[in-house]
Symmetry: C2
Subunit: 357 residues, 2 copies
């Protein structure tokens, strides 16, 4: 087992990474304060992992809630179902929530924990690659609004993250590839060495060879933890983690949540960010090609879906959270391993990038 620490003063917490960690009571019990625990999961994850998790929590008053699966359920209405259960069982302010599942479950349960009685503890148990390397780490929680993804949320840090890499063995290959988009993102943003390692070990990672996947998760979490520790509330460099996400969110919103999964939209978004960086003279052509090729080898989409027009993309991009004072800010690349925030670009270049894609 590897442990990566997220350093945030009194809100610091460990990420445990390894095989067979779900069900190991000694990892989570030191992080539970009261005697009430609500485990929230979804219909897809529950049959496989709910029983061992509940068994490891047998010392507590444990309740469970199984939500429908998918991004289309990441709504205020589903959030209310969590509050209903918490209040029905009279959960107090020192209760603990456990988010067992992918990014949708983690984001929603984290937000429920942020709001219930103005904030209770929660534990992340991510079961998808995307959740293990990205969404479960860093305390960003949210639900979607019909007019924008993750528009309603909070910064609320978990008290620990248990990333059991065995759970990835049963992951839908499409979800695995989508998670790889975020893994590749860390290489692109800040870790050229990791990018090169991925170019060499991509098939081992996709084949879920234990050493390779553990290494990919660990290095991703280390990169994410470093950024989050330096800028918890995204006042500066944390925004770099959104490489490809402004384009990606526009694709997800444009198609309707759930048609493309997050990592797929982000993959296209990163290709577009790289292409735009080349157009602006920031990035050498060859590095944009390597970016596209690594994503393509992963089996991820690298082109905009045909049904989304340029105008629609522009409209959706302008409600993205990265719009500051009415100006669109984009995360672009100066090199593989070096992302940068750009807001003073010629809008024509953005339009051309969208047309080309």
């Amino acid at each position: 087992m590897n442990t990566v620490q997220v350093n945030l003063g009194s809100r610091s917490y460990p990420i445990y990474i390894g095989e067979g960690l779900l069900g190991r009571a000694e990892l989570v019990t030191p992080h539970i304060v009261g005697h009430q625990v609500l485990v929230v999961t979804d219909e897809q994850v529950a049959p496989q992992y709910l029983a061992p998790v509940l068994a490891s929590l047998s010392d507590y008053q444990t309740e469970q809630l199984i939500l429908p699966t998918g991004e289309s359920h990441k709504t205020p209405a589903t959030l209310n179902q969590i509050f209903d259960v918490l209040l029905q069982y009279r959960f107090s302010r020192d209760a603990t929530l456990v988010a067992l599942g992918g990014g949708v479950i983690g984001d929603m349960v984290g937000f429920a924990a942020a709001c219930y009685q103005r904030g209770v503890r929660f534990i992340q148990m991510p079961t998808t690659l995307l959740a293990q390397v990205d969404s479960s780490v860093g305390g960003k929680t949210a639900v979607n609004h019909p007019l924008g993804k993750n528009m309603i949320g909070a910064f609320h840090q978990p008290c620990c993250v248990v990333a059991d890499t065995s759970t990835l063995q049963s992951l839908d290959p499409r979800q695995l590839r989508a998670g790889c988009a975020e893994v590749i993102k860390y290489g692109l943003i800040s870790d050229v060495g990791f990018f090169v390692w991925l170019e060499e070990h991509l098939q081992a990672v996709l084949g879920l060879e234990p050493q390779a996947i553990a290494e990919a998760v660990r290095r991703s979490c280390e990169n994410k933890a470093a950024v989050v520790s330096a800028d918890e509330h995204e006042r500066g460099q944390r925004a770099l983690l959104n490489l490809g996400h402004t384009f990606g969110h526009a694709i997800e919103t444009g198609l309707g949540y759930g048609r493309w999964i997050h990592g797929e939209a982000v993959a296209v978004g990163m290709v577009m960010a790289a292409r735009m960086s080349v157009r602006l003279g920031l990035l050498p052509e060859g590095e944009a090609v390597r970016t596209r090729e690594l994503l393509e080898c992963t089996g991820l989409p690298v082109k905009l879906p045909a049904e989304l027009g340029v105008e629609e993309m522009l409209a959706h991009m302008s409600v993205d959270k990265k719009v500051l004072a009415g100006k669109l800010r984009l995360v672009l690349l100066e090199a593989i391993g070096q992302a940068t925030l750009v807001d003073d670009f010629d809008p024509v270049i953005l339009r051309e990038t969208l047309q080309e894609a």
Copy 2:
């Protein structure tokens, strides 16, 4: 004009108290960062005060939202209306919300500001006595759930509070008396000098004599600011501000939100807390009598509503947020001016107190 400072490090902010402050642009503009401002108010407040507030914000892109009046609308559904407007007008992360109205508007707009894009700025412009002396100060925001009041919320500090005491002239006398319950609360909790001042100046305060009401608001805000500065997230002494509130919330929930207004329920709650303190031998009988008399002179209820039974009260009290690890904690009195947290009392005493009331 008086200014009371809430000291919370980087989240510190001023409370401006005085006559004719609404519409004074120079008070609020230093606290607005972006160019988008949404003023949220309700149907009762809008006709009187919305126009001057909007006029003072004419340098910004200003939108308005007028919500229905009353505690029964302090729900997740109304909260969503605020998000709808923010997204419809593409408000960005540096937007500012203005809460113009009573405690319901302040709590709800504050919570919307806490959640929109994971947190934007907001300004409190309280127009009721209760909001000026209590709910607008300290960053507690929330909406209600059918199973409990203020159960879904956040700690989110405003960037300033503008308490225009002229607005109290048009306040419904019932609302004015309810606000006085919270004013008296500060005397009971921590400021015996203020309690004695209130015993002497109650009629001047209720008659809205300018000097008396300004003094009552200022001393209340000073007491609240001191407690909040010492314990922002209610890990300790801030809980003392809930004197009478565990009983009071149970009354509000039991009757259905809106039948009794908050200050009325808290008035009865404080009488019950005093009575229970006497039963436990904490408080001299005479001080409980003075407590009841000052509330009674204010014209507030001092007895439980006839339709609420003891069992119902006990059931509602057990979901109150002050329940820690399944144990009911109550704020009681050791003297007028000295509140204390008690959780190791004989439940029979609580039952007897409820029966007596």
